[in-house]
């Protein structure tokens, strides 16, 4: 009703000084700095972690080990942004070592999409998925061309990822499963900012990895975002990563739809491989 009057108050706007391309480039750099800093801290502490690693027991699927059972001691207060860690100077990273994938990407994509859904339903039979992403509920992306010099944290060659919103018993979270070649997967979590819990994992076929919860960022509103990722390293020259993001309600605690043990079982699913 008063829109026109407000428009007359605004008048003619001068040319914008907002440079969207520069903004996108700046955000890319910031993201790389955050990831590189995180990985550098992990690499630097791998030796200590390896010495002190312990094996986590593997209860049956459907177990109810609390995902965020440990209090979040380092959670950032609402209204405060997490400061990105400094960019490392001379840090080097191991290369991807898995062999190239020979399976045609359309077939691999279809196979892994079904495998992801099956892996989740195997541990949470009542799970439902976001609609609108096709029959599986997963939004699939893939990179099937070799990319020279892929840095850690970026999408490496031969990577298939599926993202969905998973709901279990009224609780929901954003779930991403990524299947890639073996490479510079994270080997620990000491030194990663915002870590709340961290547990090493050893699978039945010699898989190793860590399951952790992490505070990634806090917005300017009273909300907290919790993040959990699980790496399974060196299984048939591949790596499976599972991310589960759960938003906490204002003033509340996150209520994840899947437990840490269930995420471990998802990552250990033999069908989630690039080399069937």
């Amino acid at each position: 009703m008063y829109h026109d009057l407000f428009e007359r108050v605004i008048g003619d706007a001068p040319a914008s000084t907002v440079d969207i391309e520069a903004l996108v480039c700046g955000q890319r750099r910031a993201a790389r700095r955050r990831i590189a800093g995180t990985v550098a801290a992990v690499v630097a502490t791998t030796g200590l972690l390896t010495a002190g690693a312990l094996t986590v027991g593997r209860p049956a699927p459907g177990g109810h080990t609390p995902l965020f059972g440990v209090p979040v001691a380092s959670a950032t207060a609402p209204g405060v942004s997490v400061t990105p860690p400094p960019t490392p100077g001379q840090t080097t990273y191991p290369p991807f070592v898995g062999p190239p994938v020979t399976e045609p990407s359309p077939a691999a994509r279809q196979r892994l999409e079904a495998a992801m859904r099956h892996a989740v339903l195997a541990v949470a039979p009542g799970a439902s998925f976001r609609t609108g992403n096709g029959a599986s509920g997963f939004d699939m992306r893939h990179v099937d061309q070799p990319i020279a010099g892929t840095p850690p944290g970026n999408i490496p060659s031969f990577t298939y990822s599926g993202t969905t919103v998973v709901r279990v018993a009224g609780r929901q979270g954003n779930l991403t499963i990524m299947v890639a070649r073996a490479g510079p997967f994270r080997e620990g979590c000491a030194g990663v900012p915002g870590i709340a819990t961290c547990e090493p994992v050893t699978g039945p076929r010699g898989e190793t990895g860590f399951v952790m919860s992490q505070v990634l960022s806090v917005s300017d509103r009273p909300e907290a975002q919790y993040h959990l990722w699980l790496d399974r390293g060196a299984v048939d020259a591949g790596t499976v990563t599972v991310d589960l993001t759960v938003d906490a309600p204002a003033g509340g605690q996150p209520d994840p739809p899947l437990t840490a043990d269930q995420l471990v079982h998802i990552a250990e699913d033999p069908a989630l491989t690039l080399y069937p």
């Binding site: 009703m1 407000f6 108050v9 001068p14 955000q27 999408i155 917005s219 509103r221």
Partner: protein, 163 residues
């Protein structure tokens, strides 16, 4: 962020750039600050794009980021002093129309949060509930803070107004 997601993000922000600049100008009444606020808003949106892109009302979410960016900026010491020119109490003959001058004066006179209420309610045409949700205040607070703006708008347009 994947390339496809980035393209999607870029298309969104290009389409929303000018409307958000105009909204930001109403809040801060300074084009330089308005551009800063829009840049801050787009930066935050980039970092949250993975979750935000599927939101039912993404525009309301972006407006909320912008509004809070401005309120946060106002709390900074170097922003506390209003950088805009004072608004004349009377309008010189041949100047801007009385209704425009009245609204401009209103926006200059009210405190930041009340100005945000006026902009969100009467410029963005958001409901009381939506405005309350964005600002994190009660609907009653929105109604009371919008009352003065409503009266001024009624006088400016000389039209019957519905709450």
């Amino acid at each position: 962020m994947l390339r496809a997601d980035e393209d999607e993000y870029r298309q969104f922000v290009v389409a929303r750039l000018e409307p958000l600049r105009r909204m930001a100008f109403l809040l801060c009444r300074n084009w330089h600050t308005a551009d800063d606020l829009v840049s801050i808003t787009f930066g935050k949106l980039y970092r949250r794009w993975g979750r935000a892109r599927d939101m039912e009302n993404l525009d309301a979410y972006v407006r909320a980021i912008l509004t809070h960016a401005w309120l946060d900026e106002r709390r900074r010491p170097w922003r506390r002093e209003d950088a805009t020119d004072p608004v004349p109490e009377s309008v010189a003959p041949g100047g801007e129309p009385p209704d425009v001058a009245m609204l401009r004066r209103l926006l200059a006179a009210v405190p930041p949060r009340q100005r945000a209420v006026i902009v969100l309610r009467f410029y963005c045409d958001l409901s009381v509930a939506q405005t309350a949700d964005i600002l994190g205040i009660s609907e009653g607070a929105v109604k009371s803070q919008a009352a003065r703006g409503l009266e001024a708008l009624r006088q400016a347009t000389a039209q019957p107004v519905e709450e």
